[in-house]
Subunit: 371 residues, 2 copies
DNA sequence: ACATATTATGGTAGCGCTACCATAATAATG
DNA sequence: CATTATTATGGTAGCGCTACCATAATATGT
């Protein structure tokens, strides 16, 4: 029986490979790989039964399941996602739009997404918006046209046009990271307003009064944090516009140093600084080292995101831990549930954040427990 | 005339949207978007002419070009890449396999790739092998089945199976980063053997003698550098196996600290260390700060890749600059040339590397010029 | 003027798969 | 036992596009 199958298999393979070359009237080439029809012929069933077996195996009798499985293995058949998507109007691609590939913040989230998606039928396709709303619009329209199974967005300021397109598409959408901003469908993230608020409160508790705010690139993310910083400073009656230092340049450690030099010149009396991300915070630390400003005594520093190196730095740097890996995982989890038919109301998942206070903001008598 | 077109357009759009709903015998739904046939009907040409216009505009008369262009704009037509790929057997996707998304090394290359590819018809699709050869095999086979326009690989140890698959596929392949390892087709990168050699030579020139080697994850990349380090140390008669400290753990700044503690305990007399990447080097710097080991006097440190923060660190850290952005650009450039029909022999492009000597290895009287 | 090469255009038949329908085979009901 | 539900299976006609061929329209040569 096994022998027979092999023979049959060989003949069939032979047929597949030659029917094109030998044909007088040059037929279309085809991919050269086994198709669903080849599998069907070998298993002696209708091609639609093979298709059904691949999608809903339970609707095919055990007998045919076995024959088809054997045939698939013999021919080394793999379905063509293009043809599938074209015929069904749906694809197995989940589009993920992120603003940057060089930012560890997003790569952590991507890891979570990857880990959650492997062993499923879905694939992810990354789109890099590069912090440009125009580029985002372009990508949203590009992706939606391809009828993705779902989409994940990392943007605070999705345009009206894109929002409408996304909503009308009927594709599950998950917006990740900041919970602020208008919701299209489901959201997974944390409140960056609360986070910034907590940072300011923390610094005040530690006795700092002239607390600055430093940010680069000034995207919606940074603006949101700045506004929250402002509010909290005003609430405490210590707000001073001069303590804000921002730029449109791209964030980097070197930029953190540069900005801090300017900041310190403008504000010789400043005693702390809240950096909108960890790169800047690290730069501030380095600049302080260079200038002999002692941390945390003369200058308190807090970053945002809690990258791995914050804990390893000397002094260790306080930062807001955002649960990025978990965000990626939960985004996919939510999508999978909905694609499996367990329809869920669009909802908002708050994964929270943790202010990790380390040496860089732990002034005086307090006992620091750096991680 | 314009008015007429609008009317006509409206009618046609109306037709597209309703012909399905009203039809008694439930026809296939379709995507709802305008197709090439809709464009052809509106422009009063054959659909194949529209197809031709999209691919080889010069083969269509000016008159029809204008009619078709107008029709495309009116209908807001965008070609469906799935259908294209299915019909033509080729896709516009360039597959890029990288071992990690959280590594800045690769994100720089991706930036180069992105920058070079925009404004072309091609798209990139990223595959993350996570440093696993099995995963790489899986992805290679997955990608090749989809008939990508080209592929970019970042792996030193592509399996025999994958190599064969890639070669037989007739798809342009570019391997990037290290020039070492067997070539499938074209390569773009630098010699990591020469780079490691130069690092050791540099440290020796600076008067260091007990030079260690630190590496994590021990992938082929790290092993290659270690072997080159060994050879160079042996050549100078100062090799000592005990000076090598490696682990399978994932690289991180914290790990750099941890490994250095062990290293220093085992080798109290060590006076320099070559780290296989910058994260580890930064960790070493921090650990030295913590232990009061002065750099570069008591300990010389050199990293690899020259991430941005190396220059900003205090002390600034010596590192090997690999021209990663350029590598990405050149990889795509090579691919585009070949896809445009300018067939080039598979070749090897060496973008070189630069050892950037900074404070961390600039001992004694020498004048440092940190960037 | 004619035959011959060179465009320009379109018809048709797929690419590999699935939605929709139809039918056959089996089970459940009275 | 006939009659109705419930499976199980397959045929057909697309999804939106392009390769292959055929034909029409124009230019070129002798």
């Amino acid at each position: 029986m096994i022998f027979g199958t092999f023979i049959y298999n060989d003949i069939l393979v032979f047929t597949i490979n030659n029917q094109r070359k030998e044909s007088k009237l040059a037929k279309r080439k085809g991919s050269g790989y086994a198709t669903i029809n080849d599998v069907a012929k070998l298993a002696e069933v209708g091609s639609i039964t093979v298709s059904r077996f691949l999608r809903e195996p339970k609707k095919v009798s055990i007998k045919l399941q076995k024959r088809i499985t054997k045939s698939i293995l013999n021919l080394n058949y793999v379905p063509d996602p293009k043809a599938r998507a074209l015929a069904s109007g749906k694809s197995n691609v989940i589009g993920v739009l992120i603003p940057s590939l060089s930012n560890n913040v997003f790569s952590d989230t991507l890891r979570g997404i990857h880990d959650m998606i492997k062993n499923t039928q879905y694939q992810i396709q990354i789109g890099n918006t590069r912090y440009s709303l125009d580029e985002e619009d372009r990508l949203v329209s590009l992706f939606i046209r391809q009828r993705p199974a779902a989409m994940i967005l990392t943007s605070l300021g999705t345009s009206e046009k894109s929002c409408k397109l996304l909503k009308n598409s009927n594709v599950p959408i998950v917006q990740i990271m900041e919970l602020e901003g208008k919701a299209i469908d489901t959201k997974v993230g944390y409140s960056s307003i609360l986070a910034a608020e907590e940072v300011v409160t923390h610094l005040i508790e530690k006795g700092y009064l002239r607390i600055g705010y430093m940010a680069a690139r000034m995207d919606r993310r940074s603006i949101l944090r700045r506004d929250s910083y402002r509010k909290q400073m005003q609430k405490n009656g210590i707000y001073d516009k001069q303590l804000e230092i921002t730029t449109l340049e791209l964030s980097s450690v070197g930029l953190g140093r540069k900005l801090f030099r300017t900041f310190k010149k403008t504000n010789p009396d400043a005693d702390a600084i809240f950096c909108s991300n960890d790169d800047l915070a690290l730069g501030v630390i380095f600049e302080c080292m260079d200038q002999g400003i002692s941390i945390p005594e003369d200058m308190g520093v807090v970053g945002f995101n809690d990258l791995e190196m914050m804990a390893a730095c000397v002094p260790s740097i306080s930062s807001v831990r955002t649960n990025r890996y978990q965000i990626g995982q939960l985004a996919i989890k939510n999508i999978l549930q909905r694609l499996d038919g367990n329809f869920r109301e669009p909802k908002q998942v708050d994964v929270g954040f943790q202010l990790i206070a380390r040496q860089s903001s732990n002034r005086a008598t307090d006992v620091a427990t750096p991680i």
